[in-house]
């Protein structure tokens, strides 16, 4: 196995007592002494600092970069205003999802943030745009932090005046003691917050400055997972992969009218035919929330049945666990579309069928500043 990579914050994690685990080829903090449960609750009530430097940051530069990227991503990138960010998908020829990503329009370039596990493949995929005169520049000299939670704005504004004016999905650059920060008001927790790209030689100092604020605690990947699960956000490789159509994954909303059949820039991305056909007809299967009865967590891989005994397996849990803010187990599964909210299904756990209620996503309503 290849050597695990370490982010610029590795020593900081150790100094804070983090338990480190392998994740997507990186050695990352899964939790700190506070523990997953309290880290989760702290983020929902105060502010949590996450090291997300393992994620890939990529700059696309050149005339027509937005048009060119629309050839790989079924989103409205041409219409993305300067200073704004949007969610999108890389798709394959079968209409499946290669990765999900954030795309920011920073005026003279686009800034992409992609999943760590897919970064290498995504960059290779993007390199086909070079034939159209677009430069593809992986950003390797910056760390990436996420500050999330209802107190994130107040904390960050103390260090970086002016950030409070940003709204959800805005992007902007700010100076912090001579270092240029790339900010976006976004995240992966269902809370208001920011993702902050910091020059590598200053990222530890900036993280320490945030952690010195009384509202801020360091948060590991364990709580990141339960936070995003409660927020109903899919995780690549679990809730979607190369065989999942966007509609099935519950991500049809990321494909706007302009890119759909009859739109101004319809199609023109890998898998356009199956993807647009699915969106026009309505998905046959769709990602839904499940609330299990009782306290037992229903985890990834558990089969979902349509009857308390016998019956048919109609889907498999793609993400599931304990939701600390919900105060009970929560799960997501891709199931036949059209199941009514509140409908009862059964999860087979240790040979027993546990009733689970179909629940609209998210489990926890986001607190974004729109």
């Amino acid at each position: 196995m290849a050597e695990l990579r370490r982010t610029m914050l590795y020593d900081l994690h150790l100094s804070r007592g983090a338990k480190m685990v392998p994740f997507a080829g990186w050695e990352m903090p899964v939790q700190y002494p506070m523990g997953v449960l309290n880290e989760h609750l702290h983020t929902r009530s105060h502010a949590g600092l996450f090291d997300v430097s393992h994620m890939g940051q990529v700059i696309l530069r050149g005339p027509g970069a937005a048009e060119a990227l629309e050839g790989l991503v079924p989103a409205d990138i041409v219409g993305l205003a300067e200073g704004r960010q949007r969610y999108g998908l890389f798709t394959n020829d079968a209409g499946g999802i290669l990765d999900d990503l954030m795309i920011a329009n920073k005026g003279d370039h686009l800034l992409l943030v992609v999943n760590a596990a897919c970064a290498e493949q995504d960059i290779a995929h993007l390199r086909q745009l070079e034939a159209r005169g677009i430069s593809v520049e992986p950003v390797t000299d910056r760390g990436l932090l996420a500050l999330q939670g209802p107190e994130a704005e107040a904390v960050l504004a103390r260090l970086v005046p002016g950030v409070a004016a940003m709204r959800f999905m805005d992007v902007a650059e700010f100076d912090w003691q001579g270092a240029t920060l790339w900010l976006s008001r976004s995240g992966y927790t269902g809370e208001d917050g920011f993702e902050i790209s910091v020059p590598g030689d200053r990222v530890v100092a900036f993280a320490e400055a945030l952690l010195a604020e009384p509202e801020v605690a360091p948060i590991g990947l364990g709580a990141r997972d339960s936070l995003r699960l409660e927020a109903g956000m899919p995780l690549y490789g679990h809730d979607m992969d190369g065989s999942t159509l966007p509609g099935e994954a519950g991500l049809g909303w990321s494909i706007p009218k302009a890119r759909r059949a009859g739109g101004a820039r319809a199609g023109g991305f890998p898998g356009a035919d199956p993807i647009l056909r699915e969106l026009a007809a309505g998905p046959v299967r769709s990602r839904m929330g499940l609330r299990p009865e009782g306290r037992a967590p229903i985890r990834e891989g558990v089969e979902i049945f349509d009857a308390a005994e016998g019956g048919t397996a109609i889907g498999t849990v793609c993400s599931g666990g304990f939701g600390p803010s919900v105060g009970g187990p929560v799960a997501m599964a891709i199931l036949p579309a059209g199941l009514a909210p509140g409908a009862t299904l059964w999860a087979e756990l240790r040979g027993k069928r546990i009733p689970v209620a179909v629940t609209p996503l998210p489990f926890h309503n986001p607190s974004y500043k729109r």
Binding site: G35, V36, G222, A296
Partner: protein, 118 residues
């Protein structure tokens, strides 16, 4: 005096019964416990039989019967407050078992257990 098993359980002899819980080391390894399923009182169990399901925020695991015997009582407060296992693992007992043989001399003492977990 407490005895310990290789499965990170603590055992406390109380008359002709044994009280069973998990060690602080085990509760730290598990992380925050969110679900516990206890055996039925009166159940006859074999040594090594998985009789408690314990789930943390991270994963599911089992607690096994340390000896063969009959379950005489369970800590009914635990399923409603599973976090007690993290707060005070020595107070958060899981079940009492009346063993077929009362001999606990085969289990580790504190020093032996500390050597095991290093």
């Amino acid at each position: 005096m407490l005895k310990y098993t290789e499965d990170h359980e603590w055992l406390k002899q109380d008359g002709d019964e044994i009280v069973v819980g998990i060690t602080a080391h085990a509760s730290e390894q598990l992380g925050d416990v969110v679900f516990i399923e206890l055996p039925e009182v009166g159940r006859e169990v074999e040594a090594g039989e998985e009789i408690v399901v314990i789930e943390s925020v991270k994963a599911a695991s089992d607690i096994v019967a340390p000896v063969a015997g009959v379950i005489t009582a369970v800590n009914e407060a635990l399923p409603d407050a599973p976090g007690a296992v993290n707060e005070d693992p020595l107070a958060a007992w899981f079940f009492r078992i009346k063993p077929a043989s009362a001999d606990l001399s085969g289990f580790m003492d504190e020093a032996g257990y500390q050597a095991l977990i290093g």
